[in-house]
């Protein structure tokens, strides 16, 4: 009976052409939507690889600089262990910070950092990777040593040029004050300057990096942390890590989270995902509707034949098999045609479709950038085939259900009398 159903799908060329085309159109739409959705997902994946997924923790209400007026509170040392034990945390780095006056009202930042860790620049929370332009960077051998690398701004202020590195020193007077810097009753310290870096902007060049343990000794801070950087293992887990840290350290810490990736995830990706899912659902419903009407027409056209089959002793199961087989055959052919159309015209349609169907629903800042960045139609063939097959099976099964019920319920006598 399955064979009969499959052959019935071919009973007329015009019937086959019309039904296949009607099923192919929603399949095409569905695949275009999946391609757009897939492209946005890939764009998000690229963003996730490049985006900052690092949280910054500071003592509550404080900049965490050990000698800055009103901002000298630092995080308790236990914050480090808590951060390291938090799920989905990939890396934890901790800094100690102080300030030293330079000229007039200007000042330089003194940063204690473990050699090998990221030398982040203080500039409204931005992070960067200064580039050593002379000498060398800090190494593990520098731990506990009075040694530092300085930005080119500090070097100019201190009169240290590249050719003097190795013998150049810089003395920090911890008793010097400034409108926002208070004096520490600590002896001055002379640091050997191992390297000079460039950061790309003026204030970033006014920093000095020294080993963290040396900083603790120089500034008399045996424990505690100015800034704690906690990097999540994925941008997807940033919110979870942030929530965990807030639970554990919310009482003592301000937590500053990156927003770009999360915002993109929340706006662009989610919007497109929802639109694609909604569109796919509409396409699937359209397919099912087409199969529904095709099956009803098929049952009506074949009523007499179905009556004959019943007279010959065909069970309800056998009748159902013939009707479902035809529905599946038509759905499969329609899907194949839709997939072929997509392979040929998908790229052509996907971009304007994105512009018309998706772009208006995106946050304004992503409209142009995302449209430009999308590489449409790049979804893998296997994934597309899986989508198309799934859609065909669902449409055939759901769409033919009522027709199958009608066919099974036919009275053999009435069916045979049907003209």
């Amino acid at each position: 009976m399955i064979r009969l159903g499959l052959r019935n799908a071919w009973r007329s060329k015009s019937w086959l052409a019309v039904t296949t085309a009607l099923i192919a159109l929603p399949v095409f739409l569905l695949l275009v939507l999946q391609a757009v959705s897939g492209a946005v997902e890939r764009q998000t994946a690229i963003l996730k690889r490049t985006v900052d997924n690092t949280l910054q923790l500071r003592a509550r209400g404080s900049m965490g600089h050990v000698n800055m007026e009103g901002n000298e509170d630092i995080l308790p040392q236990r914050a480090l262990g808590i951060a390291q034990r938090t799920t989905h945390v990939a890396r934890v780095e901790h800094y100690l910070l102080a300030m030293t006056p330079t000229e007039g009202h200007n000042f330089a930042m003194i940063v204690g950092v473990n050699p090998g860790e990221t030398k982040r620049l203080e500039s409204h929370g931005e992070a960067g990777n200064p580039r050593i332009i002379a000498g060398r960077d800090l190494t593990d051998a520098d731990r506990g040593q009075r040694v530092a690398v300085i930005g080119q701004g500090v070097a100019r202020w201190a009169g240290i040029s590249a050719d003097k590195l190795g013998e150049a020193t810089l003395t920090l007077d911890l008793t010097r004050t400034h409108p926002v810097i208070f004096a520490l009753k600590r002896p001055p310290v002379t640091l050997r300057i191992a390297g000079i870096y460039a950061s790309g902007y003026v204030f970033g060049d006014m920093q000095l990096f020294m080993p963290l343990d040396a900083f603790r000794e120089v500034y008399g801070v045996p424990e505690g942390i100015s800034w704690l950087y906690v990097q999540a293992d994925s941008v997807d887990n940033v919110r979870e890590v942030e929530a965990a840290l807030r639970r554990e350290l919310g009482e003592v810490a301000d937590i500053i989270g990156p927003t770009a990736a999360a915002e993109f995830e929340a706006s662009a990706t989610r919007t497109v995902r929802q639109l694609a899912a909604g569109g796919a659902a509409i396409a699937a419903v359209l397919m099912a509707l087409v199969v529904f009407f095709v099956t009803l027409v098929n049952v009506r056209d074949r009523t007499r034949e179905l009556g004959t089959l019943k007279a010959l002793g065909a069970s309800g199961k056998a009748i159902a098999a013939s009707v479902i087989a035809e529905a599946f055959a038509l759905a499969a052919l329609g899907t194949a045609l839709g997939a072929a159309l997509f392979a040929l015209l998908g790229n052509l349609f996907a971009r304007p479709f994105f512009a018309i169907g998706v772009r208006p629903f995106l946050a304004p800042q992503y409209r142009d950038s995302l449209a430009d960045a999308l590489v449409l139609g790049g979804a893998s063939g296997a994934q597309l085939i899986a989508w198309a097959a799934l859609a065909a099976v669902a449409a055939a099964a759901i769409g033919s259900a009522w027709g199958v019920r009608q066919a099974i319920g036919l009275s053999p006598v009435e069916a045979l009398r049907h003209e």
């Binding site: 034949e305 004959t308 069970s315 053999p412 006598v413």
Partner: protein, 223 residues
């Protein structure tokens, strides 16, 4: 005397069309022995086809009893009636009712497929049956490629597929010219040597060859 393969006692069939009631059969009692060629004759609307549908388990009687091959049909479920038709009855229709997308051979194989016969066995039997009705060379042809007489021969072969004790034919020569109709009558008479064949017909030739003739008028058996 042989046991009747078909027995009806007071069989009644009432159709409702809106508020109207149409009494197609009104207390028909008959017995058909096996083997034999039984003719049911009567004018249009006399209830011939309705009687055939009741005997063939295609429809349920509104009253009375219908028993075929020793089994009463009234108490059977729809599924049991389907299985009963499959095993006990072969149908031959006026318009042949072959499945257009299947070849002659596949049409004959179909009732055996419903009956769970293995593919090789049903193919062999279908080929033998087509040979018996003289259509072995046309086995691969579709109905549209066959003449009316050939189609009816295929339909007779199909009716014999599961070797049923009863074959029911509703105006089997009605769509054929007289010469072709004659050959079909001969074929049915030959089939009736081994089983009961009940034929609803207007054809005098067929009625003359019958071992028994039942006359129906206004849903009742006429004397």
């Amino acid at each position: 005397m042989n046991e009747p393969v078909v027995r009806t006692v007071g069989a009644t069939k009432v159709y409702r069309k809106g508020t109207q009631e149409v009494r197609a059969l009104d207390g028909v009692s008959l017995a058909a022995e096996s083997p034999g060629l039984i003719a049911v004759v009567g004018p249009s609307g006399s209830g011939k086809s309705s009687l055939l549908h009741l005997i063939g388990a295609m429809d349920r009687a509104s009253g009375g009893e219908v028993a075929v091959a020793g089994r009463s049909l009234g108490a059977m479920t729809d599924a049991e009636l389907t299985a009963f038709r499959r095993r006990t009855v072969g149908f031959v229709f006026q318009a042949f009712n072959l499945i257009p997308n299947l070849s002659a051979l596949e049409n004959v194989m179909l009732p055996m497929e419903f009956n769970g016969v293995k593919p090789e066995a049903r193919r062999a039997r279908a080929q033998a049956l087509l040979g018996r009705v003289g259509l072995a060379p046309r086995a691969s042809h579709r109905p549209a490629e066959l003449s009316g007489g050939e189609q009816q021969r295929v339909a007779i072969a199909r009716a014999l597929a599961n070797d049923p004790p009863l074959v029911l034919a509703d105006e089997p020569t009605g769509n054929l010219d007289s010469k072709t109709g004659e050959s079909i009558v001969k074929l049915l008479a030959e089939v009736a040597r081994a089983r009961t064949v009940i034929v609803v017909t207007h054809a005098e030739a067929l009625a003359r060859m019958a071992t028994a003739v039942f006359h129906l008028r206004d849903g009742r058996l006429a004397d």
